[in-house]
């Protein structure tokens, strides 16, 4: 699926990364949409998490509460987005501990703690395949920025 990502939500994503990470720590947000209109990203959720320069981990109780809230709202997580200090790539930890395990789920990594221009320059996008492995896909093939 190719998701439509409102430019305002992409900008909000970078703002969250810069405010939370302070160019010193990694950070993650989750892009959500309605199950009735899954292709249109409509929410940017900033999880409760611990973070350091080389990684992050979500709070388990927060995950539970958030997944319940998704069910009440009829929304689902489509893309997990997080920062790296330098180059963007999918690490072994990124591969092994995603929040969603469905084929087609996307993971977007933003380089330089998201201190660069808002957009997908030097970003790395991965997708879960049917056998559970990840493969790199061009961001433009799955994500369309819309105004």
């Amino acid at each position: 699926m190719r998701y439509r990502v409102p430019a305002a939500l992409l900008s909000e994503t970078f703002d969250r990364f810069r405010h939370c990470g302070g160019a010193r720590r990694e950070c993650q947000v989750l892009w959500t949409s309605e199950w009735t209109h899954p292709a249109t990203i409509s929410g940017v959720v900033h999880p409760q998490h611990l973070a350091h320069a080389g990684g992050f981990e979500l709070d388990s109780a927060w995950i539970n509460d958030f997944l319940l809230e998704l069910g009440r709202a009829g929304h689902g997580i489509r893309v997990q987005v997080h920062t790296h200090p330098n180059e963007a790539f999918h690490s072994a930890t990124d591969d092994d501990y995603p929040i969603i395990h469905s084929a087609g789920f996307l993971s977007l990594v933003i380089p330089d703690f998201a201190t660069g221009p808002v957009g997908f320059d030097r970003a790395y996008l991965s997708e879960i395949t049917h056998d559970g492995t990840w493969r790199e896909v061009p961001p433009q093939s799955r994500l369309e920025i819309v105004t």
Binding site: W35, G55, S60, H101, S102
Partner: protein
């Protein structure tokens, strides 16, 4: 609405449980024997949502945030009740460069 003692007794003695499993915001109903194991419920839940890849990373959690970590335990022993909702999710979510 008042629930009578007979209704409570009937509910507790029911062999088949109607449960709801929630995955990524999508609820699905499962009917399962109260004497089935947590492992059986987990396997059926994973199949219900499309045979999710990497199933060993997923487990069932109660709405109160308790992981059903003993897969050999029966649903009765795990104190699951008619109408309960469970969340299918990974135990840990993390990432990063290192």
């Amino acid at each position: 609405m008042n629930i009578t003692a007979d209704e409570v007794h009937s509910d507790q003695s029911k062999t088949i449980l109607d449960l709801t499993v929630l995955y990524n915001g999508m609820p699905k109903k499962i009917e399962i024997d109260r004497d089935a194991t947590v492992k059986t419920l987990l396997d059926r839940s994973i199949a219900l949502f499309g045979n999710l890849p990497q199933p060993h990373t997923l487990s069932l959690w109660t709405e109160k945030g308790v992981e059903l970590s003993n897969e050999q335990e029966t649903l009765k022993a795990a104190h699951l009740k008619e109408g309960d909702s469970l969340i299918l999710r990974p135990s840990a979510v993390k990432g990063g460069e290192s």
